[in-house]
């Protein structure tokens, strides 16, 4: 194989793996959308909040696993209070109202995280190096970062477990019922409150995992919130209510933006990555407004 083709593959594979990091953020978003038809704009802030708290607890001297568990507990509390204080009072309001409320929620979480832990950039060492794995490089000549590979594996694991949760368990059935029609679901005895609590907590845990991987790559800092915004085009391409869609969308965005950046970027002075995903999403929207795997949007007068 020519070195140019090899380089192309390297770019694509790198992009695909980086795309799974977007997918992880998108996953938390889909989780909440599926169960409560709420666009949770605060998911990016939750990622930031979770990983900053995690690093903060470790700085206080907690060992890795204990800090992880304490942060999960914290995210459950965040989920609980969000459900109680924001989502429940706004039940039956329009989607746009809920969206704006979650923008407010994002601000609260970002502010609280910075007030509690400060604003300086922190390093997060997961023990996984962000360097190419040598034996893969030797065998096929493509450089793949170990961190990217881990992110891919974690994303795959999460998707499979969430898919099993949604389709194979009773809780999943309840979740889907609530998403379909909260009123009907609660009238046949599905505990709405518990379901919501579960979903928001699960989204918190997903946020923590995504935050750890992002933090290990880019440092734990405020810019993570902007990176998390890129989960939106991912969702648009994949569809808001589809877990596999979040992954496929992430892969498409990740690989396309890397290929564009490497092959077209130099002609325009680079940094195409900043807007390419959004423009890609717009073109996608014009063709398929519901995304690749989303349910068709039907509006009635």
């Amino acid at each position: 194989m020519g070195s140019e083709i090899l380089f192309f593959f390297e770019v694509v594979v790198g992009g695909l793996l980086a795309g799974t990091m977007y997918s992880l953020v998108a996953l938390g978003f889909v989780l909440i959308y599926k169960a409560s038809a709420t666009f949770n704009f605060a998911q990016g802030a939750m990622v930031f909040f979770a990983v900053l708290s995690f690093v903060g607890f470790m700085e206080l001297g907690l060992p890795f696993f204990l800090a992880f568990i304490v942060t999960i507990g914290l995210m459950v509390i965040v989920g609980l209070s969000t459900e109680r204080l924001v989502i429940r009072p706004l039940m039956n309001q329009s989607e746009d109202t809920l969206l704006m409320a979650t923008i407010g929620l994002g601000y609260v979480l970002e502010g609280l995280a910075q007030a509690a832990w400060g604003v300086e950039v922190r390093r997060l060492d997961l023990g996984i190096p962000d360097f190419p794995i040598m034996f893969i490089a030797d065998a096929i000549g493509i450089f793949i970062s170990a961190l990217d590979l881990t992110a891919g594996a974690v994303a795959a694991f999460m998707v499979i477990s969430l898919a099993v949760l949604f389709t194979q368990t009773k809780i999943g059935l309840g979740l889907r019922a609530v998403a379909d029609d909260p009123g009907a679901a609660s009238s046949i005895g599905i505990p709405l409150k518990h379901i919501m609590l579960l979903v928001w907590s699960a989204a918190g845990v997903v946020a923590l995992v995504a935050g750890c991987l992002w933090g290990a790559r880019a440092g734990v800092q405020f810019a993570l919130v902007d990176l998390a915004l890129k989960a939106l085009p991912v969702l648009i391409i994949g569809g808001f209510s589809s877990i596999p869609g979040a992954i496929v969308g992430g892969l498409i965005i990740g690989s396309t933006e890397k290929v564009l950046e490497v092959y077209i970027g130099p002609f325009f002075g680079g940094a195409i990555e900043g807007w390419a995903p959004y423009v890609l999403a717009v073109f996608f929207l014009l063709k398929r407004p519901e995304g690749l795997f989303g349910e068709k949007i039907i509006r009635r007068v």
Binding site: G111, Q114, P233, L285
Partner: protein, 342 residues
């Protein structure tokens, strides 16, 4: 136009005259400190103008757009280049043309709104935000090939007289803001505004009643970006006094969104109330931090708390008063002057 104007009541005229006297005579004569002009009044008026733009698209037409700062940047750099490259172009002429340029860009980025809505549209408008800033940043022509990254804005010259002192600049902005606010109020109260609101409340129903979605939505996008473009040019020429793309990043877009929502969706006075609140609240917090707590609280914590307060207010308003501070003000007025109204 005359039909719309004739619908104003006597109290509207009195309010207008009082505000004009206050703005053009009382404030310039009584406020002596430059700080008030450069740090509060000038940015307040500029951002209020941008917020009116956001109101047109979001409050009146119901399209969730999140790219006001991008259009402000377009207006600012258009104005810079027009004054730089076109000899003898008067400042107000440049201002209007930069508004029109922003409006043209707004129409292009408003096209997706014909097919999509809600958060989908928000993502599409985010594309405009990032794309406009990127184009300005990467193509040297817009910045006149200045490598330092920060370009000083030209002085405002009107009829040969330079307007460079804070009071002068304040008066220039006040004239522009007054004219455009009257325009906005008239549009909102006339048939244009009724079409916007029909599309906001139920677009399918509006269409079946003969309101053209294509025309109404694109018109709203154009007018909204026109306001943002003019506001951006004023913002850069009077408040920032420099042109740098980073000043118009996504954070400014969010700020304007907050001003719009907290002020009250679908109101013009809400734009002024919201902009004033978002601008003044951090000033107040800093004042409290310095004078009450004597710097015992770290500045980063204060700015973080500011974010928390904005977020909490956003949620609280969404739950208890979705129509924002403008509605709150109406309610207070009604309680106070109940007898007069009846």
């Amino acid at each position: 136009m005359s039909a719309a104007i004739s619908t104003y009541s006597k109290s509207d005229y009195i309010n207008f005259i009082v505000l004009m006297v206050l703005g053009f005579l009382v404030i310039p004569m009584t406020v002596n400190s430059d700080y008030w002009f450069t740090s509060i009044l000038i940015p307040w008026l500029c951002l209020a103008l941008a917020t009116i733009g956001q109101q047109v698209i979001m409050g009146y037409t119901g399209q969730l757009a999140l790219g006001a700062a991008g259009f402000m940047a377009a207006g600012a750099f258009a104005c810079f280049n027009l004054i730089l490259r076109v000899d003898g172009l008067p400042f107000f002429g440049a201002l209007i043309i930069s508004g029109l340029i922003a409006a043209a860009i707004g129409i292009v980025f408003g096209l997706p709104s014909l097919r999509i809505r809600g958060i989908y549209l928000m993502v599409a408008t985010l594309a405009s935000q990032f794309f406009i800033i990127w184009v300005i940043d990467k193509f040297g022509w817009f910045k006149n090939y200045d490598s330092s990254g920060i370009i000083t804005a030209q002085d405002i010259v009107i009829f040969g007289r330079p307007y460079t002192t804070p009071v002068d600049m304040y008066l220039v902005i006040l004239v522009v803001v007054t004219v455009m606010t009257i325009l906005a109020i008239n549009m909102a109260r006339g048939s244009t505004g009724r079409n916007w609101m029909a599309v906001r409340d139920m677009d399918v129903a509006a269409e079946s009643m003969g309101v053209s979605l294509l025309k109404t939505k694109l018109q709203a996008f154009a007018i909204s970006s026109f306001f943002c473009g003019v506001a951006g040019a004023l913002f850069a020429f009077t408040y920032l006094k420099s042109l740098e793309p980073v000043a118009f990043d996504i954070k400014l877009s969010f700020k304007i969104l907050f001003m719009c929502i907290l002020g009250g969706l679908g109101t013009i006075n809400g734009a002024f109330i919201g902009a004033g609140f978002i601008l003044l609240f951090p000033v107040l917090l800093n004042y409290l931090g310095n004078n009450v707590f004597h710097g015992a609280i770290d500045a980063t914590i204060i700015s973080a708390m500011e974010q928390v307060v904005f977020g909490v207010l956003m949620i609280v308003f969404m739950i208890y008063e979705p129509l924002g501070m403008a509605r709150l003000w109406e309610n207070i007025k009604q309680r106070l002057f109940k007898k007069k109204n009846k």
